[in-house]
């Protein structure tokens, strides 16, 4: 038996044995399917929409949180970097204002200033004073750069125009990334000069490294042309060109989505540092930042699939259960209708046969008496061959009358079914009555009937009509299963505990094992084509239960079938016993 066969509900293969008058009200498979689809969609659609909304809300929330975090990171870093630069710029401005041209031209003084700057601010490499024509006035520092003229250089022109200047970071001849900050001494009487300091730029990289919080984010600085001003793990070494489109100028911090050199998706936060040629950038790996989002997404999807599965299972189970109930109720309804119809039919047959038997009985009595009188009169006649002949004929008539009266008596017994009442009954007599009914067919089909009633069986309290019906049904069944020339054995035995067992054993075709558990179900019939309703055994079982008994069946295909009925001697006592034993 396949798995499907085992879980298949009863109604699935349901088909009408009684199409027509008592046809079933429902198309059960359609009801089942419809209820599943309706309930499931009513439950799943809201869940689905909620999940979609939740999905979008969560994604947006996580995305905007990441953007905000990037903005915060860039803003904070910008403040730090700007502070670093402006701090030094203002220090130089202060020095330029504080020292006149003469003072600054003094080598000793310049050395002291540089020394102080290094001590208090750090990172200053050298300090140089230049007059407005571009000639070096004094130099303090480790490199021998004395007597250089800067007049034609761009930065010099710029510092004269703007009053200050901050250079890109460059390597220059110092073999160390550095930047130049220059300020003017604002005197117009020809005593003005320019103070130019070189600042080590490795400081930026260190500061940025300190701020970076994880491997997935990187802070870096480029100039406006996209040349890297700090070394970058992602975008290459210092002074290389960054593999990104330079984002356009904005006063505030911005975040945009970009693609990294390896094609990875990035959140790129950037800010233009004011009054410097630098752009501060924060590249954050989108995939790792969205990790929490992926987790949330997986949870949402799992939740959705889980709830849909649970809903489907519940809907499936509930729908199957309910439709099975409908099926059972419907089956019971049809069975009840059939039973009522059957009982009505039997009652009509009963009334009809009672009427017929009665009408026939009176003329039979007259024939009986008249023939008897004939015999009486004959006795008064002298002995003669004719008298003997007539006497034999009269005896033959009396015999036929006797036969007729047996038939009418049986008909009357059969008709008494509806009057249900418990009486003391001889089970052997009941069985004889019923077999008498079938004798003709048995003779005609050459079926041998053996009846074996144990002599120690007492009279039992039971319903004669029901017993007759039970045995009639079982014997009819056996006759249907028997071949011509078959053998039917009926045995009655006393059991312990005030019970008796009647066995109806035939050697007919038997019942296949797979059908065996269902033979007592209503509408189960293998003879539907030959006019069986599938109700005979079901009614038989009902009748047996009504008189307090049980019925069982054993069968071997090809060898025969054995129905065994167990009856209590007194159903009232038996019932009371089972009632009182139940609560214990």
């Amino acid at each position: 038996m396949s798995f499907w066969q085992r879980i298949k509900p009863d109604f699935w293969e349901h088909h009408d044995v009684a199409a027509g008058l008592h046809s079933h009200l429902f198309n059960l498979r359609r009801i089942w399917l419809l209820s599943i689809v309706l309930i499931a969609s009513a439950a799943i659609i809201p869940v689905f929409f909620l999940t979609v909304i939740d999905y979008r809300v969560t994604r947006n929330a996580i995305e905007s949180e990441n953007i905000n975090r990037t903005i915060r990171l860039v803003s904070n870093t910008r403040r730090t970097v700007s502070f670093f630069i402006t701090e030094r710029q203002y220090a130089l401005q202060f020095l330029a204002r504080d020292n006149s041209l003469e003072k600054i031209g003094n080598q000793e003084r310049l050395d002291t200033i540089l020394e102080n700057l290094k001590d208090s601010f750090g990172r200053f490499t050298d300090l140089e004073a230049i007059d407005t024509r571009g000639n070096q006035i004094a130099y303090s520092g480790p490199y021998n750069l004395e007597a250089t003229n800067y007049r034609d250089q761009n930065w010099f022109k710029e510092v004269l125009v703007h009053g200050d200047y901050i250079s890109d970071i460059f390597m220059g001849s110092r073999m160390n990334p550095h930047m130049v900050i220059a300020v003017t001494h604002p005197e117009n009487n020809g005593n003005g000069y320019i103070l130019r300091a070189t600042v080590e730029a490795s400081q930026f990289h260190e500061e940025l490294l300190q701020i970076e919080s994880g491997s997935e984010e990187e802070l870096l600085i480029t100039n406006h042309e996209g040349i890297l001003q700090t070394p970058s793990k992602r975008f290459g070494s210092i002074f290389g060109e960054i593999a990104l489109e330079i984002p356009k100028y904005s006063e505030s911090t911005r975040v945009l989505e970009a693609t990294g050199p390896d094609g990875e998706a990035l959140f790129l936060g950037y800010a233009y540092l004011e009054n410097t040629p630098f752009i501060l950038m924060a590249a954050r790996d989108k995939s790792s930042l969205m990790q929490s989002w992926y987790q949330a997404r997986d949870q949402i999807v799992t939740y959705l699939i889980g709830s849909i599965a649970v809903i489907l299972i519940v809907v499936l189970v509930v729908a199957t259960y309910l439709v099975s109930k409908i099926h059972t109720a419907d089956q019971n309804r049809v069975a009840a209708l059939h039973k009522v119809e059957y009982i009505n039919k039997m009652a009509s047959i009963g009334r009809l046969s009672a009427g017929v038997a009665h009408e026939i009985n009176n003329p039979l009595a007259i024939i009986n008496e008249k023939t008897g009188l004939m015999k009486d009169l004959l006795l008064q006649m002298e002995e003669s061959p004719i008298r003997n002949r007539i006497e034999t004929l009269a005896d033959a008539i009396l015999q036929s009358v006797n036969r007729c009266s047996r038939i009418t008596r049986r008909l009357l017994n059969f008709a008494r079914h509806s009057e249900a009442a418990f009486n003391l009954i001889d089970i052997g007599e009941v069985i004889d009555n019923v077999t008498g009914f079938l004798n003709k067919e048995a003779e005609y089909r050459d079926i041998q009937i053996d009846i074996d009633i144990a002599p120690d069986i007492p009279l039992i309290k039971s319903d004669r009509g029901k017993l007759e019906q039970i045995f009639l049904n079982l014997m009819n069944n056996a006759f249907a299963a028997l071949e011509d020339g078959g053998y039917l054995n009926i045995k009655a035995r006393k059991l312990s505990g005030e019970r008796l067992r009647v066995l109806v054993i035939d050697d007919g075709c038997g019942i296949p094992p797979e059908d065996l558990p269902r033979v007592f179900e209503p509408f189960f019939s293998t003879r539907t084509q030959q006019g069986g309703t599938g109700l005979g055994l079901s009614i038989t079982r009902n009748l047996v239960e009504e008189i307090g008994g049980t019925i069982d069946v054993e069968s071997q295909p090809g060898e025969g079938t054995r129905f065994s009925i167990t009856l209590p001697f007194n159903p009232d006592i038996a019932k009371n016993e089972t009632d009182t034993s139940a609560p214990g």
């Binding site: 038997a357 009665h358 009985n361 009176n362 039979l364 009595a365 007259i366 024939i367 009986n368 008496e369 008249k370 008897g372 009188l373 009486d376 009358v401 009266s405 009418t408 008596r409 009357l412 017994n413 008494r416 009057e419 009442a421 009486n423």
Partner: protein
């Protein structure tokens, strides 16, 4: 003294034939085709046994039985019926019938039952007579 029997049945043919057969067997047979006839006969005469059909058109056998028993309780009634129903039989016995014979009846068994009925009636009558004698003895006090 021959046995005095009353046959009551609505089927005249049956009634006559059965009566004749019983007469042949030496019984004194009266017949009644209706219930009223039977009731009037029982008022006029005494019978050893009454054979009564249970199913009659104007009055049911059970009713006739009740009437007869009400007037003359020592009358012995044998019910005769085509309806072999035990329930009716039980009812009839309860109402005081002596026995119950199914139609078509075997005359031999019917005769036997009539004899029994006669015997029973004799006992009853004797007992009654005895009682009367005793009553007389007690009341007169010779």
């Amino acid at each position: 003294m021959s046995t005095k029997v009353l046959l009551v049945d609505d089927e005249k043919d049956f009634l006559e034939v059965l009566g004749e057969r019983m007469k042949i067997r030496g019984m004194d047979v009266s017949t009644a085709a209706t219930a009223t006839e039977a009731l009037s006969l029982t008022e006029d005469q005494s019978f050893d046994a009454i054979v009564l059909d249970l199913m009659m058109p104007e009055m049911d056998g059970l009713e006739v039985l009740q009437n007869i028993k009400a007037k003359n309780p020592e009358l012995q009634v044998i019910l005769l019926t085509g309806h072999g129903s035990i329930e009716k039989g039980v009812e009839a016995m309860r109402l005081g019938a002596m026995d119950f014979v199914e139609k078509p009846a075997d005359l031999e068994s019917l005769t036997e039952k009539i004899k029994k009925a006669q015997a029973r009636k004799m006992i009853l009558v004797e007992r009654k007579a005895e009682e009367e004698v005793r009553n007389i003895i007690i009341s007169k006090g010779w």
